[in-house]
Point group: C2
Chain length 415, copies 2
Amino acid sequence: MDFVKTRIIAVGSELLTPFYQDTDSLYLTRRLNDLGLDVAEKSVVGDELENLVRAIREALDGADLVLVSGGLGPTDDDRTREAAASVFGLPLEFREDVFQVIEKRFIRRGKDMPAVNRKQADVIRGAEVLPNPNGTAPGQWLERDGKIVVLLPGPPHELEAMSEAQVWPRLAALKKGYLARVTLKSSGFTESELEVLIDGLYPRDSGRRLTVLAAPGQIEMHVSAFSDISESDARNRAEALAAELRGRLGRAVFSDDGAELEAVVGQRLSARGETVAVAESCTGGLVSRRLTSVPGSSGYFREGFITYANEAKTARLGVRAETLAAAGAVSAETAEAMAEGARSAAGTDYGLATTGIAGPSGGTDSKPVGLVFCAVAGAAGTAVERSVFLGDRLRVQRQASQKVLDMFRRILEEK
Amino acid sequence: MDFVKTRIIAVGSELLTPFYQDTDSLYLTRRLNDLGLDVAEKSVVGDELENLVRAIREALDGADLVLVSGGLGPTDDDRTREAAASVFGLPLEFREDVFQVIEKRFIRRGKDMPAVNRKQADVIRGAEVLPNPNGTAPGQWLERDGKIVVLLPGPPHELEAMSEAQVWPRLAALKKGYLARVTLKSSGFTESELEVLIDGLYPRDSGRRLTVLAAPGQIEMHVSAFSDISESDARNRAEALAAELRGRLGRAVFSDDGAELEAVVGQRLSARGETVAVAESCTGGLVSRRLTSVPGSSGYFREGFITYANEAKTARLGVRAETLAAAGAVSAETAEAMAEGARSAAGTDYGLATTGIAGPSGGTDSKPVGLVFCAVAGAAGTAVERSVFLGDRLRVQRQASQKVLDMFRRILEEK
């Protein structure tokens, strides 16, 4: 069986407000892509039966596989079962065995089952029931007229557990093929610089794909390769492209397993049994916050100094008043003294520092908003770099934190 | 004119990958809601002409107003103009005046206009052209057979500027009615506690709406009221409900103008001309990072101490080794000493502190993961509170930062 087209429908009136967004479809898309299936269209519909019926009918007109998330709950608003049955002109049948499973779930938790939950045992005639390990609403899998419709619960932890156990294995059995992926994360250049560097590497064969995603201070490259032959063929083809990218980008690539920069830095520090302290001015705690967001960071992160006021730079880090007066708080000299002061005060192997003008105010002609000095101090000496970042306050802070962590990562990798 | 139904279509193959999400529709929904218009359905389609034609046709079947975002660029992939014209059986006409505007944009920036951009001057016969102040792609507004189709550019800053200037005023002129909104943000209880507190306040009249959104440590209440009569009638009705909510929730409400907790704390400190320092253990810089994310925070935020190691708590904050040995680093005594130590070391009016077990490891029976002590020290004394937060490391850190900022906010409001 080869699917020409796949469509996803998210059901729920709350998804049509400005407050909620359908995220189930991102997970479904990722896992469909893993099977080599693309999504042709996504839609979000409210809880009204007529809209649901129309949406499912339209989706079936344009696709062979339709995944519907949401609307399987016990309330009057939950009409997905009814809508799907009506599209196929099939009856809903109450299934005693399904009912027992739902009731047991309540009994196990010492509760009485509300009468409304009874309707969750209604199954479209001919559909297979997909057990829900994390909730009361079972899913349904219906094959009919050469098309497949899958009804899934809306809550992500229910949808994901059910899909992993029931949906992807079934689709994999129907669909012959293998997919492999590699994600490279890199830091140290802009998106346009990257495009020049990787020129000619966008795959021309239809079975491979390269997607480039840029965030402030970070660029991700998602490589995927599909094979009809074997998993190792898919993996080899993905790895071949990833190797070419690594060859072009060199040390700018900091992870190929999804790890964030702060986790990579943490792994290197842990492996070496070394420690770090951080002195921050313009990033206001963001560098420390990123480092300490990693589980186990108390093993290498000793201390952070957020020295906004000049007096704090002097009292805590020993930055000399003359340096602050002559070069200014935002200067290479101050960044260097802060990094060295953090290392020495905390007694760590390394000290990191940031000082700059995050904005929106505080900029001058010679020191514009976005100017940041980053420093890394270690036993071998202190490195300082000057950058001018674009964007608003949070974007400047984010890029500065990325810059100092990337400088540190490169120093840790050098040795 | 009264719109029965509105639908939104987002165009772009990248929106059908796991990496990008359509966010334009959230903005469009919010502004449509402001006009009293609900969205009946949203969809995301790729760049292929046949899919686009089908999606627009389906949307027009079910709605009177269809907003289409994206696909107005200059490349071969940009087919929205063509698709909309084809749905109505209308020709695209090259408009010299529109072309001049596009070309001038390039000339102003000292560039030659690429030949491909010429197609952006193609206008559906009978459509009005919507100028794009932030890009080359003009929008189009087409009324036909009692239906309205609006074509808008995909990049949010282009779509939003164009909509503000061209779309909402036109719709407001067609649609009679007024909408007012109030957003209350609150802290200090769970969603189920809130539901009990506001029991009976969900409006029964169709012209008002209350939406409750819960995030870790924070609950937002969105009130909206629609009036056929006047803007002040709408405002009064929204305010009446907001006043009832405030009456029930009291001091738990910390903002009614969209401001975040860290900004509210900052406003209060600024107004009083007072200063703060922060000592953090389990939050690892998050409290400082939130406070310093607010523009102008250098006026009241002096210094942050991220004292992960016990030695740092002693050296920087003067927490006595006996306190750490007897009560432990995660204790009310240590939190109190940290807050007082931060205040005294930095010479500020207030000192905040957090110490706890963010997890995933480090918990014991008597001190489980999620246990956090928060403290606020001031001239009048030191307040300490003990909490046990649920969730993963980032969720515990987030709730702890919210807790200490909310304790501080209540103290600032008391005086």
